[in-house]
């Protein structure tokens, strides 16, 4: 089956030590004592890789992301960033959330500068700060929008600012929590391309949470499928077809079918074992 643009993962093709490695990670919503939201997850992310985490709402994707980034504590297991244990948020890790989360009292430039004037992480002043903000605005195609405030931005523009704010801090890993979930289809496609472009240009690894199979197929080098209750990784696929993939959509169809059937298995397992969970798992 070597003609297919994907393979079922059995080994990692990377030789270098991973950028991020997690081992047997578990976490719950509210500290220990609660049942885990996700359980026993191990994975490696290499430099510059784009990984999509696919799964239904409530499967713990977002919690996994927040735990990876140090925003909330793990119950069990460990996280290593370039071999170093992660215990709190790190400047090398950038976040973009589903909402852009822009402060209403700041315009676009100030929003980006905010992340460049904190004590931990890259810190700039005056002319250097202006240059960095300009570069970040250029990265996301917003050089003319620096003076606008959050309420004057469309959803797509706001999310660009949010991306620029994370990029300006020169992260080596970007954690995206359904960043395009609230956007229309066309804006989504534009943003997918933009994120891929900047990630490639700056050699940033991306862990991208989504519930959209097509999004995962278009952007990912690897796709993980998460099951829920407790969340765990049940499948992994490599997508080797070159990007951008709009010209070779047909070649992605077999993988799409494979993922769909894996999804239906996850859903089927849910239905047969616990009929009540379907209605409560929203």
């Amino acid at each position: 089956m070597s003609f297919l643009p994907f393979t079922t993962a059995t080994r990692s093709s990377h030789r270098n030590p991973p950028l991020l490695e997690i081992q047997q990670l578990s976490a719950s919503y509210a500290g220990t004592g609660h049942p885990p939201v996700f359980n026993d997850i191990s994975l490696k992310i290499h430099q510059g890789e784009v990984i999509c985490l696919l799964g239904a709402s409530g499967c713990g994707k977002s919690t996994l992301l927040r735990t990876l980034g140090g925003l909330q504590p793990a119950q069990k297991g460990s996280i290593f960033l370039e071999g170093e244990k992660v215990r709190a948020t790190r400047p090398e890790i950038g976040f973009v959330f589903q909402k852009a989360v822009l402060f209403p009292w700041q315009n676009v430039r100030k929003s980006i500068a905010f992340g460049l004037t904190l004590r931990k992480g890259p810190r700039y002043k005056n002319a250097d700060l202006r240059k960095k903000v300009d570069a970040a605005l250029d990265d996301v195609g917003l050089h003319d929008a620096g003076h606008l405030h959050a309420h004057q931005l469309s959803g797509g523009m706001a999310q660009r600012v949010s991306l620029a704010r994370a990029l300006a801090r020169e992260p080596s890993l970007l954690l995206l929590d359904e960043p395009l979930g609230a956007l229309d289809a066309i804006t989504r496609l534009e943003m997918q391309k933009l994120i891929l472009d900047v990630a490639e240009r700056h050699k940033i690894a991306v862990l991208w949470v989504t519930h959209d199979i097509d999004e995962a197929l278009l952007v990912a080098d690897r796709i993980f499928l998460m099951d829920r209750r407790p969340g765990r990784i049940v499948d992994e696929w490599h997508v080797s077809s070159p990007k951008p993939r709009f010209d070779s959509l047909d070649s992605l169809l077999p993988l799409r079918m494979t993922i769909l059937s894996a999804l239906s298995k996850v859903a089927g397992a849910l239905r047969s074992s616990d009929p009540a969970s379907l209605s409560t798992a929203a």
């Binding site: 980034g69 925003l71 709190a88 948020t89 790190r90 400047p91 950038g94 976040f95 959330f97 909402k99 989360v101 402060f103 209403p104 009292w105 905010f114 992340g115 904190l118 004590r119 931990k120 992480g121 405030h149 309420h151 704010r165 801090r169």
Partner: protein, 253 residues
């Protein structure tokens, strides 16, 4: 009715109330009695002009304004940081909830004898009373402001590795400014009300002092003139803060 005339009417209506008040005042002080006549609007405005022209009122006005500024400043210095600490620590807030609501219900004027016993006669007890009066609206306004801070804003700041102090100064404080302005406006209102009785505590200048002084001199038209001044300044302060509040809101929306 057209919208322009409606708007004109809504601007005009408040002044009809003022005019009616003046009319009632004039009617109430009309008559043969000399005493009543000294309370009349005409005499009062004459006295007002006199007070301003001779400059007699200025030392009292400045003394009172400085006291208000000091009281408000001291209350802000205590109430705002305390409110932020409380708002961010639910346990601390719960621990102090009964205590604070209890103390808050004691009229600042009820502290008068204690203030005098502790601090003697003069400026210190007055400042104490003004601060006690003004600290509550600022403290409670700050706490409710901190509660209203968007959790996602805090998470975002944490995702950018902001320290707890940076989160307070760069996210919480700018978020609560509208609440602070409301608290400041309420504090201003109550401090201005407490000022006059507090200044009857043996100080040598101030609008409260001046009221007692006019009473002792039987200068009733001057007394009423001082009341007019107190009302006018209070109204001006309030209008200024209300305006600041609206401006802050408009700068965002």
């Amino acid at each position: 009715m057209s919208t322009t005339s409606k708007r004109w009417l809504s601007h005009f209506l408040p002044f009809t109330g003022v005019a009616a008040g003046l009319l009632l005042w004039w009617l109430a002080t009309r008559g043969e009695s000399v005493l009543a006549a000294s309370f009349s609007p005409v005499e009062t405005f004459k006295a007002l002009v006199q007070l301003i022209r001779t400059g007699e009122i200025w030392p009292h006005l400045t003394a009172s304004t400085i006291r208000v500024a000091e009281g408000l400043g001291l209350a802000a210095l205590i109430g705002i940081p305390l409110g932020i600490i409380q708002g961010m620590n639910p346990n601390l807030e719960r621990a102090t909830s009964i205590l604070f609501q209890f103390i808050r219900m004691i009229s600042p004027l009820a502290w008068m004898p204690i203030a005098v016993m502790l601090l003697g006669i003069g400026d210190a007890p007055v400042l104490f009373l003004l601060t006690v009066a003004a600290v509550w609206p600022l403290l409670l306004g700050t706490i409710s402001g901190v509660h209203a801070v968007d959790r996602e804003h805090l998470t975002l700041a944490r995702s950018l590795c902001a320290s707890p102090l940076e989160i307070v100064t760069r996210v919480v404080v700018p978020s609560i400014i509208p609440h602070l302005l409301t608290g400041l406006r309420l504090a201003m209102g109550v401090i201005w009300i407490v000022l006059v009785p507090a200044e009857m505590l043996g100080v040598q200048a101030g609008l409260g002092y001046f009221i007692l002084d006019t009473r002792d001199r039987l200068a009733y038209s001057e007394l009423l003139a001082v009341l007019l001044i107190i009302g006018a300044i209070g109204y001006a302060f309030d209008a200024f803060l209300r305006n600041a509040h609206q401006r802050w809101d408009h700068s965002k929306h």
